[in-house]
């Protein structure tokens, strides 16, 4: 459970988040909104890269914002980046192990859990290959594996399917749907591919100009007039 209240972020004259309040309960939740609405900024606040001007975030009854940024991963917060950031000079295994060894998890079962995550995203065959030699699709999967290894509590996915063709998006969607059962984490998915969002997320929240304009069951949200006007555009989705 994560509860965001009155979150405001300003960059100079730009207000990227403007009193954002929302509550994500469990499972996989969608977060959508027009370009520049503040979705990535919201993720950056959660991971500690951006310090909000105002507001609070409580996650599983802890004050997330008072935590040092690198501690949040230890606490169980994981994310992927809009521009993929897998570490090229390390193997897939080391990429994932890296996250594991900086979490609170013991080392006893490290190898097993790391391989488990790699298996989960379907990269077992290339587990010892350097990431630098992999293609875009696989790199995104490496990021997903890093996000689910061990026992994450909160997984943030920032446009993981951008630039992936339909078939691979479908594969990715399947993975995202299985994250809650794999690791019991609360997952927040940002993407502009509505078919991916509606197939993965039972609930969705919509951000516009830094404010929440709608939230609830995905199907309802996507029919919301305001959302259609601000984000989806007139004709799409029926």
């Amino acid at each position: 459970m994560i509860e965001v209240s009155e979150l405001t972020v300003r960059f100079g004259g730009v207000t990227s988040l403007d009193g954002m309040s929302v509550r994500f309960e469990a499972g996989t939740c969608g977060l959508i909104g027009p370009n520049g609405a503040g979705k990535t900024t919201f993720f950056n606040v959660l991971s500690g890269f951006v310090r909000p001007a105002e507001g609070h975030v409580r996650a599983f009854d802890e004050d997330l914002l008072s935590m040092a940024h690198f501690r949040r991963a230890r606490w169980g917060l994981r994310r992927t980046f809009q521009t993929e950031q897998a570490i090229e000079s390390l193997s897939v295994y080391d990429n994932v192990a890296l996250v594991h060894e900086h979490s609170k998890l013991g080392r006893a079962n490290r190898r097993g859990e790391v391989l488990d995550a790699i298996e989960f995203v379907g990269l077992r065959d290339v587990a010892y290959v350097k990431v630098g030699t992999l293609g875009v699709g696989s790199r995104r999967l490496v990021e997903v594996a890093r996000a689910v290894v061990g026992k994450p509590r909160l997984v943030l996915l920032d446009e993981p399917a951008a630039g992936l063709p339909d078939a691979e998006t479908a594969h990715l969607g399947e993975l995202i749907r299985r994250i809650p059962e794999h690791s019991e984490a609360l997952t927040i998915l940002v993407d502009h591919d509505m078919s991916l969002v509606s197939s993965c997320c039972p609930v969705t929240a919509v951000l516009d100009f830094g404010k929440m304009i709608a939230s609830g069951p995905t199907a309802d949200v996507l029919r919301n007039e305001q959302v259609v006007r601000a984000y989806l555009g007139a004709e799409e989705f029926q």
Binding site: A73, S89, L90, D94
Partner: protein, 361 residues
């Protein structure tokens, strides 16, 4: 680096059993290194003239310095143009302690390592806020400042006071060496052992948790933070490690040269140091040894051949340009590929000839 690395990567068809193989290769590699080390320790001093033994001692010392810079540049992505100044600090501390105390040499080495580590980390502390070009330039500035300060302060020569320098000496005493290594071959062995220990120390870092953390930091700090890495800590750690081993190298250097002068630690040396580290290969442990050879053995050979040292500088300049434009991973990356190609060809030959021998009745 990203493009270069991609380009150098051949399309892989790595079999799933890779890890097992890697372990066997590791074992072989360890054995090879052990044999090499034994040869260097026992065989080499017998074969070389004193002239080359001394320059090999320097190679051992400067390999460690290059290794430290290699950790910063190659592993963490922090360019430092001030490592010669750090070496100078290490040597200064060691010299001061050697004159002032009668501590065992090993203790002096450790102390100069630790004190240099503290100072180096202090330098690293503000530098942590910046990276890339700014870090390179600020370290260049700091190195320049340290050079000027050392020129005014002077290296200890057995005098009293904080600086341990007495300008009026018409007789400058030499620095002592460890009791077990007073002769040149013995001191060479001593240096190699210390260097080997420093290499092991770095290896122990690179192969494990800090190594992976550094790789993450090098590529993208936000990604590293998101992976739970305390980037400040690990960057300081890298500075501390590099300064420590450079400080120890400074201590070994003090005993090797026995007289220290600030002219031997110029701002320019930091630049040539970076040049050879890049030429050798900042990403690899072996690169450090190549850098040491380039920096100390090559000049000795050229000097002995009567070639002007100016050529060496020109050579380093060309080397830097060559490496940066065509082989960003340094000589150690290129050479083995050439050698392994050669080896494969030779291997093919011997196998063929062995086969033909076997066939002979």
């Amino acid at each position: 680096m990203s493009t270069a690395e991609l380009q150098s990567a051949t399309p892989l068809a790595t079999p799933p059993s890779a890890p097992r193989r890697v372990e066997r290769a590791d074992l072989v590699r360890t054995m090879v290194i052990a044999v090499l080390l034994v040869f260097v320790l026992i065989g080499l001093p017998q074969m070389l003239s004193v002239y080359y033994i001394d320059s090999m001692t320097q190679v051992a010392i400067y390999s460690v310095v290059a290794l430290g810079l290699g950790v910063l540049v190659g592993r963490v992505g922090l360019i430092s143009l001030g490592q010669a100044a750090v070496l100078a600090i290490g040597a200064w501390v060691a010299a001061r302690l050697l004159f002032a105390t009668s501590l065992p040499y090993e203790v002096v080495l450790l102390a100069s390592g630790v004190i240099t580590m503290v100072l180096g980390t202090l330098v690293g502390l503000p530098a942590l806020r910046m990276r890339g070009l700014y870090l390179a330039l600020i370290t260049l500035m700091l190195a320049g400042a340290i050079t000027v300060a050392l020129a005014s302060l002077n290296f200890p020569n057995g005098g009293h006071g904080f600086s341990g320098y007495n300008g009026t000496f018409v007789h400058i005493p030499s620095l002592r060496r460890p009791g077990i290594a007073t002769t040149d071959p013995a001191y060479f062995r001593y240096s190699v052992i210390v260097a080997a220990l420093m290499f092991l120390l770095v290896l122990a870092h690179v192969r494990t948790r800090p190594g992976r953390a550094w790789a993450a930091i090098r590529q993208s700090e936000p990604a590293a933070l998101a992976a739970g890495i305390n980037t400040t800590l690990y960057k300081l750690w890298a500075f501390a490690l590099a300064s420590f081993i450079t400080g120890v190298a400074g201590g070994v250097l003090a005993g090797a040269v026995r007289y220290l002068y600030s002219i031997d630690f110029q701002t320019q040396d930091s630049i040539t140091l970076l040049a050879v580290v890049l030429m050798g290969g900042a990403y690899s442990i072996w690169g450090a040894i190549v850098a040491g050879l380039l920096l100390q053995l090559l000049p000795a050979i050229l000097n002995n051949a009567g070639v002007s040292p100016d050529w060496l500088i020109i050579l380093f300049g060309i080397g830097v340009l060559q490496v940066l434009t065509t082989a960003p991973r340094g000589i150690v990356d290129q050479l083995p590929r050439d050698i392994s190609r050669l080896g494969r060809r030779l291997g093919g030959l011997t196998r063929r000839s062995a086969a033909s021998h076997g066939e002979a009745p």
